[in-house]
């Protein structure tokens, strides 16, 4: 008897086994067939995908999006005590030494789009899509140090160990992609973001929901290529043998976990061909490449924006881009010019490109960092001036389905110090989940005796944002 004959026989036995009243592996079989194991949303979704463009380091809202002519008037004046009293800042000692002076922006702001949204000269391309984006002003967060604040933006807690928003989303509603992870992380800039893997970790959720970093050098996914000297044909033969032998074991044990393993090996195989295809940008038109400002063979934020669109096209649920180098304590001039130039065109291009492909309606694009920067200047080096971390009010930009476009939501006082209405990180999270068809109060996971949720004990929908 050949192997295949024997396997047929074994299958028949399994048939019998099942008929005896064992409902064999319904869930696992569903996974095998690529059926959705999830999909139960709390209400109809407005969007299917999220692209979160995370500007690590804390971009200055006062230089880019939150225009404060009054602050310019008060430039170089000592900061009133009322703004400092009872407040805690990062680098307290530098503020404690002498009263910091207010710093008016040197950037030129102009109004764009039908509602006259303010953009500074750092963002000419984003100003060009003013009618497609909404600016959130006066967003506040809870921790003034980079690592913890990034954790807070991503997990709703400044303590490491909680699931990232992308993990919550894929845990809640799965992903449509059959050959890509549901939650992908891309990174550009001179270094990785502070906190590293904990920013996209799945915390207490199963690790299957953690964000998977796609790398810009070597394999896009770790261990995606077959080992040196192993060809595709051999890989297929190996996988076939693994599958067949695993099936034999399944016949003996009736353990559905084996069926899941079989399907995961098939998914791995599909990823091996779809991964290289994904990062191969050569098939993109010159016009598209020019739109983003992609330079062939050079890893960049622009490349990652284009990759984000390609990932979304392939059904990936949550894509997160990190771009680092926004921490401008020393100098708010040239270093900020440089990093703004790196992101302005590609960000606008992503929005334009998604729109022309009909993807913008079912995608939410978010741009922003972990906090903003103080209206007070910070002098660390003679002759230069920068800004400290500011957690009470910063700006986010959003574009995409289910939200109002071309408007500004929220606001800050005349100096850009305090919000005029409260928009907290938890509110942003609640709203993102809402757009995906998830009620943030109901997406919970019990861990150490408590039902945890992304929004902790807070979170209100940002009504003015919702279309």
């Amino acid at each position: 008897m050949t192997f295949d004959d024997k396997l047929t026989l074994a299958r028949t036995r399994r048939q019998l086994f099942r008929d005896c009243g064992v409902g064999v592996g319904k869930m696992a079989l569903a996974t095998l067939l690529g059926e959705q194991a999830f999909g139960a949303r709390h209400h109809p979704a407005k969007i299917e995908h999220v692209i979160y463009l995370f500007m690590a380091g804390g971009p200055s809202h006062l230089e880019m999006l939150d225009y404060k002519p009054e602050l310019v008037k008060w430039d170089a004046k000592p900061t009133p005590d009322s703004m400092l009293k009872g407040k805690r800042f990062a680098f307290m000692d530098s503020f404690a030494k002498e009263t910091p002076k207010l710093l008016g922006t040197r950037r030129k702001f102009t109004q764009h789009g039908r509602n006259g949204t303010w953009f500074s000269d750092l963002l000419p391309h984003m100003a060009g899509v003013a009618d497609d984006v909404t600016v959130l002003q006066g967003v506040s967060t809870e921790n003034f140090n980079h690592g913890p604040a990034k954790l807070f933006s991503n997990t709703g807690s400044f303590r490491p160990g909680r699931p990232a928003i992308g993990s919550w989303v894929t845990y809640g509603i799965g992903s449509e992609s059959k050959d890509m992870p549901g939650y992908v992380v891309l990174q550009s800039g001179p270094r990785g973001p502070r906190g590293g893997a904990s920013l996209w970790g799945s915390g207490f959720l199963p690790t299957a929901y953690q964000g998977i970093p796609f790398l810009s050098v070597g394999d896009p996914i770790l261990d995606l290529s077959t080992p040196k000297g192993v060809g595709n044909e051999e890989q297929r033969q190996t996988l076939d043998a693994i599958r067949d032998l695993n099936k034999v074991r399944y016949e003996a044990t009736a353990d559905e976990e084996i069926l899941t393993r079989i399907s995961q090996y098939e998914m791995a195989y599909r990823m091996q061909s779809s991964g290289p295809e994904l990062i191969d940008l050569s098939k993109e038109s010159d016009a598209t490449k020019a739109l983003y400002g992609v330079e062939a063979g050079k890893p960049s934020y622009a490349n990652n924006c284009l990759l984000a669109r390609r990932l979304v096209e392939r059904g990936v649920r949550f894509v997160q881009l990190y771009h680092t180098d926004w921490d401008h304590h020393d100098d708010i001039t040239k270093p900020l010019d440089k990093v703004s130039r790196e992101i302005d065109q590609p960000t606008a291009a992503l929005i334009t490109d998604l729109k022309q492909r009909g993807l913008l309606d079912k995608t939410l694009v978010i741009w922003g960092g972990e906090f903003g920067r103080t209206p007070m200047g910070e002098v660390r080096e003679k002759g230069k001036i920068g800004r400290n971390h500011h957690i009470d009010a910063y700006s986010l930009v959003m574009a995409g389905g289910g939200i109002n476009h071309g408007i500004t939501v929220g606001g800050t006082d005349e100096l850009g110090f305090s919000p005029s209405e409260q928009i907290e990180v938890h509110d942003v999270h609640a709203t993102i989940l809402h757009l995906l068809g998830i009620n943030h109060l109901k997406l919970t996971y019990r861990f150490q005796g408590r039902d945890f949720r992304l929004t902790d004990i807070k979170g209100r929908l940002i009504d003015k944002l919702l279309a």
Binding site: F3, L215, V230, Q448
Partner: protein, 760 residues
Amino acid sequence: MLGILPTLHAQDAAFFESKVQPLLRANCLACHSEKNLTSGLSLETRESITKGGNRGPAVKTGNPAQSLMIEAVKHTGALKMPPGQRLKDEQIAVLEEWVKRGLPMPAALLKSKRPGADHWAFQAPKKATLPAVQQASWVRNPIDHFILAKIESAKLKPSAEAGRATLLRRVSLDLIGLPPTPMELEEFLNDQRPQAYEKAVDRLLASPHYGERWARVWLDIARYADSDGYTIDAPREIWMYRDWVINALNQDMPFDQFVIEQLAGDLLPNPTKAQLIATGFHRNTPSNFEGGIDFEQYRVEAVADRVQTTGAAFLGLTLGCARCHDHKYDPISQREFYQFFAFLNNVDEVDREADRREFNKPFLALGNEEEMKRYNAWEAQLQTLEMELTQYREKNALAGLQDPAALERQRGIDAHRRRMPKVQRTLIMRELPKPRQSYIHLGGDFTRRGSNVEPGVPAVLPPLAKKDRAPNRLDLAEWLVAKNHPLTSRVTVNRAWQKFFGKGIVDTENDFGSVGDKPTHPELLDWLAMEFMDRRWSQKALHKVIVMSATYRQSSEGRADVKAADPENRMLARQNRLRLEAELVRDSALVACGLFSAKVGGPSVYPPLPAGANTVTQVKREWKTSTGPDRYRRGLYTYFQRSAPHPGLILFDAPDATVTCTRRIRSNSPLQALTLLNDEAFFEFAQAFAKKLAEDKDTTDEARIRKGYMLTLNRQPSSMEAARVSKLLAAQRDAKRDETAAWTAVSRVLLNLDEFMTRE
């Protein structure tokens, strides 16, 4: 105090019932009840009023002017109650009168009730008589009585014993985390004596690898890692703590001592070096060294983490839930959280920017005589320099922080610090000479100071042993392992059970509170807990009694009747198939391919890391791949960097070492497949394995396939399986691949089989 209360006069009783009680009910008790305890305050009983809440006693009996409650209702201070509206003057007068009279209340309202104190887990365990069973011949030890009785009551039968090869593979993987060698297997299969299994168990319990296997289980709880975490995530030296755990387990250190030395080894009289190293347990918290932080904030985080970890690891209680408010479900108040916090709040750690350079202190330095001489001299010099600076500043108090001479001295100290002689150090606990004053953090925010608290344990649990001094960390440790403690022993045996069966007797292994799961076999849990203590807290004895049971030895094969009657297999009418832990997948492959290094202990090592795996962190850390035997060490020795853990670990559900982990998830993902198929390390294993199979020049393909199965799965292939492997081999040869490549393909298949990464 309550005993000497005067009996309630009739007029006082009438005053309370007609005037005070309606007022309290209408205005106060909605929030300040025994149940809701807003701000920790209940106004329901005389005891709870005088004890007060997070802001201290609500009333000073007989003295309205000094009573917080009166101040609050009068709206004269910062605290204004009830919120939003002031009581009428005549109502306030009633309360003042009541306080003046000394809070007369009826007898039923004198003492606080602790709702929830009658919960099963807070009662001391009792040894029940063994339940009667029908199929008495199946029973091997008392465990089986409890299990079988329940199986029989569901009209089921237990499963037959697993095949002997399966059994040896199972017990080897469970006890030492390694599969048996072909020789061990052969010896076992040939030993037909009844005590053959017990002999194998004893051999495994005596193996130095036993300590490694169970250390890893404990290190999950200890959130052990080789780096600081948070932003900078610099390397830290604490592997000596890891080795201490391995040694303690290998020596079968009694669990009570194991706990005491880890929590408070430094407070024992004349602690040994080992006892100091043991205190690394609570120094495994992540620590933040980012610029511009408030050090006190992250020190507080670490202490809170220690409370939560102690709660989960020993008490099986979610103490962390009471950090911001009273526990919603269990009788643990926020005040009690901070009393517990107070035990752990006195370590001499950095809490201010000025001490940034001493980051991660206290350390224990360990070197040879020569190294220690140099180190001690260096440390003495450092202290002298620091003292000189302090004295200078005191003498020149007016010179200010920017005084050039002071700055010069500071630079001298910094330079001296950089000249620290090279010596091995490890993080330990060391108590401050004067304890920090602990206080309730209102809303869990350490900048919002509530009333001061002193060290203490939750009232629902047995009291601390009385001492003639203020209680400290050592008292806490001794209290945890006191014979009358209802939780520590239960929680520990339950976690062991979880390892041997996949699930605990209490499924929520870190929550024995009122919303946690009830034990499926409460009498068995108590029997094990008592037995554990009776056998002087021996973990080896505990593990032995479990693996010797007929329950443990059952086959894990699926059964239609069990599936129908008990879909989650909670009654254990069969064993469970469990995917191996991350480290064990690697270890098994190392053993199979013969590259395994058996070295126990030492600094962490750097097996190959997939290209790009550590490029996502803020500060790039060099990964100098180990060469020689260190390349082939067990998974538990792989250097663990919190911000970029080795993917081979994390993809197979190793915890991320940020908070305590008392149970690992077993996921099943395509990325695991990519790792085992394509990773450099695993391909190297496959190539070595192929070489090993091809070693004997004369043997046939069939013999080699059999050898491959023996080495990976510890059994012979069925004819069907052998045929399938032959088919692959033939295809490889058809494709004109050389013999090494063809056998490497076979090896890759075997190392990727579900059964290979599973304990059956």
